[in-house]
C-alpha cells in the first residue's frame, strides 16, 4: 500500500474546478460545428473516432421529472406517466427507454465518458 496518499485537495495538478466537477447542463453536450483539422494536427488518438448521432437531434429519452417523487417519468402504454425504470426486476424498461450504459452513443452520454468538467465560457 502507498504510505502517503496525496489528497486531491493538495494536488497542484488538480484545478479548483476539478475539485468540484460539474457536467454539462442537463447532460446535454454543447453543439460544435467545427470539424476535424487535418492529418498534421489531428491527434493520433482521434484517427478512428466513431461517429455517433448528431447532437442537435432531439433525444429519444423524453422524460418528465417528478419533483414530488424526485425521479424521471415516461409515458407508459396507456399514456400515464410511469417511473422510467422498473425498480426491482431486470429486463426492458417500461416506456421503451433504455438504460444508460458505459459509452453507448444511442443513450444520453454517460457522465463518465464526458469531459470531467464543463464550462460554457
Amino acid at each position: 500500500m502507498p504510505e502517503h496518499p496525496v489528497s486531491p485537495w493538495r494536488d497542484p495538478l488538480v484545478s479548483s474546478g476539478d475539485r468540484f466537477p460539474l457536467g454539462p447542463p442537463r447532460g446535454i453536450l454543447v453543439d460544435c460545428q467545427e470539424g476535424p483539422s487535418g492529418s498534421e494536427t489531428r491527434p493520433f488518438s482521434l484517427r478512428h473516432a466513431v461517429a455517433g448521432p448528431r447532437v442537435d437531434t432531439p433525444p429519444s429519452w423524453h422524460y418528465i421529472y417528478c419533483h414530488e417523487r424526485q425521479i424521471a417519468l415516461v409515458h407508459g402504454g396507456n399514456g400515464e406517466p410511469v417511473p422510467m425504470l422498473r425498480h426491482t426486476k431486470p429486463g426492458p424498461t417500461q416506456g421503451g427507454t433504455s438504460f444508460t450504459t458505459d459509452g453507448d452513443p444511442n443513450n444520453p452520454p454517460p457522465e463518465e465518458m464526458n469531459p470531467p468538467d464543463h464550462q460554457d465560457d
Partner: protein, 320 residues
C-alpha cells in the same frame, strides 16, 4: 436524517436509489446544480457555532445539519441568468462554485464520492497506485514522441492499444464522436502522425479470456464477467453492447484486497473497476471509474448494487 443527492434529473441509476430509499423510509433530497440560481437557493451561516444552512428548492428544504450522507454524481453546471456578460458569467460561476464547494465541504459526513477524489485519479496515476496495491497492470506508455511508441512496441513485443487519457467523447461537426480504445495496426507504427500533437496513452494489449467490471460499494464487491462476441467488443466492450454477454464472477481475494487499498488511497466509497482476465486467470486492472455506470449490469445479473449503495448512504458516518 436525509441523504443529499447531487445529480442530474435524467439519471436512471439515481432514480433507482431514490426509490430504494423511499421504500426504506429514508428521506432523500435530490437536486441538480443546474437549478441554481433559478430554482435552488443556498443560505449558510458560518460562525462561532460552526456551519449551518439550508438548501431550498420550490419543492422542499434541506437543513444542512440534517444531512446524513451525500451522493455526488456529477451534477450539471449552474444555469446562470441570461444576459450576463462573459466576465460576469465567469465571475458568477466561480463564486457559485467556490461557495457550494466551500459550504458542502463542511459537511462531515460520508460522500460517495467526495468531489475531487476522482480528479486525482488520473489513469497513469491509477495504474501506479494499483501496482503499489498489489494489482497487476498492463505495460503502458504516455508520450507525444512517435519514436517512443515504436520503442515501446518493440519492447512489448505484441499488439498495442491506444486509449483516451481523459474523455472518450467529443463533438465535431455537430456530431458526437467517440474514441474507443482500439488496436494500433502494425502498419501505423510507420505513420504515427498526430502523436506529437499531444500526450497519448498506449498500452500492451493484454490477451483476454474475458473482461470483468467489478463494482465496489464500500467494502462490498460485485463482479460481472463481460464476454465479448465481436472483434470490436473484444478490444473495447463499450464499442458493441449488442455483442456482450454477462455472467457473475468472483474476483480472487488478492484482487479484492488490492481494489480496497486502491479505494482507500483515493478516498473512494464507490468505484467501478475494469479488468482483463487472461487465459491464465490473471486479473489485470485497466482502470477504475469513480462514477461508473452499473445499472445495466444490475439488471443483467440481478446484482443488488443499488441496495448496497442505499445501505452505505444510510449508514452515513465520516468516511473521508
Amino acid at each position: 436524517m436525509t441523504v443529499l443527492i447531487l445529480a442530474r434529473e435524467f439519471d436512471p441509476q439515481v432514480d433507482r436509489l431514490v426509490e430504494e430509499l423511499r421504500e426504506r423510509d429514508v428521506p432523500a433530497f435530490r437536486t441538480d446544480l443546474v437549478a441554481f440560481p433559478q430554482a435552488l437557493d443556498l443560505e449558510s451561516r458560518l460562525g462561532a457555532d460552526g456551519v449551518d444552512g439550508v438548501l431550498k428548492t420550490p419543492y422542499r428544504d434541506l437543513c444542512l445539519g440534517e444531512v446524513r450522507s451525500v451522493w455526488y454524481r456529477h451534477p450539471s453546471h449552474f444555469e446562470l441568468p441570461a444576459g450576463m456578460s462573459g466576465p460576469e458569467r465567469r465571475h458568477a460561476t466561480a463564486e457559485a462554485r467556490c461557495g457550494f464547494a466551500g459550504v458542502l465541504n463542511c459537511l462531515d459526513v460520508l460522500w460517495v464520492n467526495y468531489p475531487g477524489s476522482e480528479s486525482g485519479a488520473f489513469k497513469p496515476r491509477q495504474l501506479d497506485v494499483a501496482r503499489r496495491c498489489g494489482l497487476s497492470v498492463p505495460e503502458s506508455l504516455v508520450t507525444n514522441k512517435p519514436d517512443a511508441v515504436r520503442d515501446f512496441a518493440a519492447t512489448v513485443g505484441g499488439p498495442l492499444v491506444v486509449k483516451a487519457l481523459s474523455a472518450a467523447m467529443l463533438v465535431e461537426s455537430g456530431r458526437l464522436q467517440t474514441s474507443y480504445t482500439r488496436l494500433v495496426e502494425p502498419a501505423e507504427l510507420d505513420d504515427l502522425a498526430g502523436v506529437e500533437t499531444t500526450l497519448h496513452f498506449f498500452q500492451q494489449f493484454v490477451p483476454k479470456a474475458y473482461e470483468a467490471r467489478v463494482t465496489v460499494v464500500g467494502d462490498r464487491v460485485f463482479g460481472a464477467a463481460i464476454h465479448a462476441g465481436s472483434e470490436a467488443a473484444r478490444v473495447d466492450w463499450r464499442a458493441d453492447y449488442h455483442a456482450l454477454e454477462y455472467s457473475l464472477v468472483e474476483p480472487p481475494e488478492p484482487v479484492v484486497a488490492g481494489m480496497l487499498g486502491f479505494m482507500r488511497h483515493f478516498d473512494l466509497s464507490f468505484g467501478a473497476f475494469d479488468f482483463v482476465v487472461t487465459p491464465d486467470e490473471e486479473w489485470v486492472m485497466l482502470e477504475c471509474n469513480p462514477f461508473g455506470a452499473y445499472g445495466w449490469l444490475e439488471d443483467a445479473l440481478d446484482l443488488p448494487i443499488t441496495s448496497a449503495l442505499a445501505d452505505l448512504l444510510m449508514d452515513g458516518g465520516t468516511a473521508r
